[in-house]
């Protein structure tokens, strides 16, 4: 069962980190710890193998204007964590249903979808950085694409 082999990898990972070594070599250790190569599941095979993160492009998508220094500083750390995420590719999860959440209580019911007036409207408006009654002001909207 591949879960068991991944468990071994994870334990090696924890051991490795706590021994105070640089975690830069973590992934190598993980791969070395895996005895047999695991075939990717069919769900993964259908899509292309994930490409390594392009931090500038991600920052653009996430609407965060990073400085070139930040891109340089974040890129190796993000790559390292995403490589580490990759260990889940080695686990056979073929027939396992995904869980959206812990789902501890199925009895939760939804409330009626009806609008209610919030009592403290002034406080909400007072928090708006740029307000011109009755509008929230923003600068011009340009379509760069």
């Amino acid at each position: 069962m591949s879960v068991a082999s991944a468990l071994g990898c994870g334990a090696a990972f924890l051991r490795h980190l706590s021994s105070g070594s640089r975690s830069g070599s973590t992934l190598i250790l993980l791969r070395a710890g895996r005895t047999k190569p695991r075939p990717y599941s069919s769900s993964l095979a259908r899509c292309a193998a994930p490409e390594p993160p392009d931090v500038s492009r991600l920052a653009d998508t996430a609407r965060i204007s990073l400085t070139p220094e930040e891109v340089e500083q974040f890129a190796p750390k993000i790559r390292q964590v995403i490589d580490w995420f990759g260990q889940l590719q080695a686990v056979d999860l073929e027939s396992i249903e995904p869980s959206l959440r812990a789902d501890t209580d199925a009895s939760t019911s939804q409330r009626e979808d009806a609008p209610e007036t919030f009592g403290n409207r002034e406080a909400i408006i007072a928090a708006v950085p740029s307000y011109d009654d009755p509008y929230i002001k923003v600068p011009k909207v340009l379509n760069k694409e």
């Binding site: 706590s18 609407r63 995403i82 995420f85 812990a102 340009l142």
Partner: protein
């Protein structure tokens, strides 16, 4: 609400004679009689305990007593006023805060609110169960007319228009919010070094971290800057700081406490939790805040028992109060990578539980180590989505720009700290078109495995135990530049969030470090909505633990 709260008259009738501090355990005993329902809930094998049997325990150091109950007793017996008590806490806060820095904001209305409580006492009006109790609130939980920043510069100066439901319920029970506690930005971190404002220190050794992300709430209770506090726990953010600071920390079942007014980080995992210096205090807080809320569709309709009344006092224990309780020690949490001192503290705690009558076995959770990467995929992905609301337009800090896209990008670049930025970017990557199945979906599949492994283990055992962290509090700055080393520290706690089950951390021992040792917490995990059982076992453990006193050296 009122039906969830302990009747003040019930408390009053038992609180007539003032007692010296060392008799407080006896005092509690008269308050909390063991109900037969609670006995049945504990364990099918648990034996009924005869209440007239004398205790076989006489700890050298007094077990922790309830700050809330002793305060209540002082008020009702007119020995002290709420104002005097508030003044004492504020004095201690002012004295310790320059070193600890657990608060981002201290309320200016504490004395006024305490005087209001005293007027109620004078008129003989019925007092709420938390009348005059000073509570710290993690700054990612909204408080009306008080700053609520989530530890992020992007919300600097933001004052919400409403109270979180948990805060509203505490106030309705009479509590006074003393201030807002520090945290890693939006809960993303394990040390409180990730706050956009300040670094909080551990009261046991100010060169060390208090843990995180609820480090401010844990440090504040540890340093007795407030009686109790609220935190939030997405991957261990209540339990790990409770362990590092030597206080009780409760992470309830997913859905047990309304999250209305909690700033969302990873919605499939987030819960509000609480800290106290005793189990009784954590139970009383849970009583006040638990239960369904129509403003949070994920809050549970599950019945709320009286968590405090199931706690039995030490003078009512026989020598085996946990007789028949099946406890499983999680094998994966006791091996390599866990500091020796932590392992021996947990083993000693397990032995103590056995001496109390519990049956101890080892239990393996095969998916345990997969939980860590799965957790970080889910948390980063959900964070990237949840934090998209901070755009500088409707609230928070706005950076001027001449067109809208730059206003978003510059406001977010200026407002978020490095960890929040990195998690947003990692989450953005994991949710990118075509990668969803490789990351987010696989992590959700691992969650299914984790849920199942906890379910199986908790069918064979009444509770599971483990450390709350693989190490005691480490030094400020030690792991700042190594994200994976930082993330690895969460291995003991993240699986519990994936499974959604409740867990309680109770101080159990010390390891070497600092001037007086560093505290270690024992994590106890139960099935969904078994908080009552965890608190009962935790209370028995805490009352019978010998020779430990979890008061930091800072307080003398």
């Amino acid at each position: 609400m009122p039906s969830l709260i302990q009747s003040p008259r019930f408390l009053l009738s038992h609180c007539l004679s003032p007692l010296p501090p060392n008799a407080r355990s006896g005092f509690c005993g008269r308050l909390f009689h063991r109900s037969s329902a609670a006995a049945a809930a504990l364990s099918s094998d648990a034996q009924t305990i005869s209440s007239n049997q004398s205790s076989s325990y006489a700890p050298l150091l007094a077990p922790p007593s309830s700050e809330i109950l002793s305060m209540r007793e002082s008020l009702l017996s007119r020995r002290r006023t709420a104002a005097e008590i508030a003044e004492e806490y504020l004095d201690r806060l002012r004295r310790t805060e320059p070193q600890i820095r657990s608060f981002l904001h201290v309320s200016e209305t504490v004395m006024r609110e305490a005087e209001e409580v005293d007027r109620l006492v004078e008129t003989g009006a019925e007092l709420g169960p938390l009348a005059g109790v000073l509570i710290g609130v993690k700054d990612n939980i909204c408080t009306v007319d008080m700053p609520s920043t989530g530890g992020s510069r992007i919300l600097e100066g933001y004052r919400p228009a409403f109270d979180a439901t948990a805060v509203r319920r505490l106030k309705e029970a009479g509590a006074i919010v003393i201030g807002k506690t520090n945290l890693d930005e939006f809960g993303m971190g394990s040390t409180t070094e990730g706050s956009g404002f300040q670094v909080t220190a551990n009261p046991w050794d100010v060169s060390r971290v208090p843990g995180g992300s609820s480090g401010g709430s844990a440090a504040a209770v540890s340093a007795r800057q407030c009686a109790v506090s609220l935190g939030s726990d997405t991957g261990g953010s209540v339990r790990q700081p409770a362990s590092f600071c030597g206080v009780v920390g409760l992470k309830p079942t997913y859905g047990r406490i309304s999250r209305f007014g909690l700033m969302s980080y990873a919605s499939s995992l987030d819960v509000i939790g609480c800290f106290g210096s005793s189990i009784i205090d954590a139970a009383i807080i849970l009583n006040a805040v638990a239960g369904h809320d129509r403003f949070d569709a994920t809050s549970s309709m599950h019945e709320v028992p009286d968590y405090a009344s199931c706690l039995i006092s030490i003078d009512q224990f026989d020598s085996k109060p946990l007789k028949g309780l099946r406890i499983g020690m999680i094998t994966e949490t006791m091996g390599d990578g866990v500091e020796m001192g932590v392992v021996s503290s947990i083993k000693a705690a397990a032995l103590h539980l056995e001496e109390l009558g519990a049956v101890l076995t080892e239990v393996s959770l095969p998916s345990f180590s997969l939980g860590l990467p799965a957790y970080y995929i889910l948390a980063s992905s959900e964070a990237s989505s949840n934090l998209s609301r901070y755009d500088g337009v409707r609230y928070g800090k706005q950076v001027a720009a001449d067109e809208l896209i730059s206003l978003y990008g510059d406001s977010r670049a200026d407002g978020f700290g490095p960890e929040a930025k990195m998690r947003i970017l990692m989450g953005t990557y994991a949710l990118s078109a075509g990668y969803y199945e490789a990351y987010y979906k696989r992590a959700q599949q691992v969650r299914t495995l984790v849920r199942k492994s906890f379910k199986d283990a908790l069918e064979k055992n009444d509770i599971l135990i483990s450390p709350a962290a693989p190490s005691p509090a480490f030094r400020i700055g030690e792991k700042v530049n190594d994200p994976l080393a930082m993330y690895a520290g969460d291995i003991m706690t993240v699986n519990v969030n994936l499974a959604g089950v409740p867990a309680l951390v109770v101080p159990c021992g010390f390891v070497e470090g600092g001037i007086a040792g560093l505290p270690v917490g024992l994590q106890m995990i139960g099935t969904s909505f078994s908080e009552e059982k965890l608190l009962r076992v935790g209370h028995i453990f805490e009352q019978t633990l010998q020779n430990h006193r979890f008061v930091p050296p800072l307080l003398g």
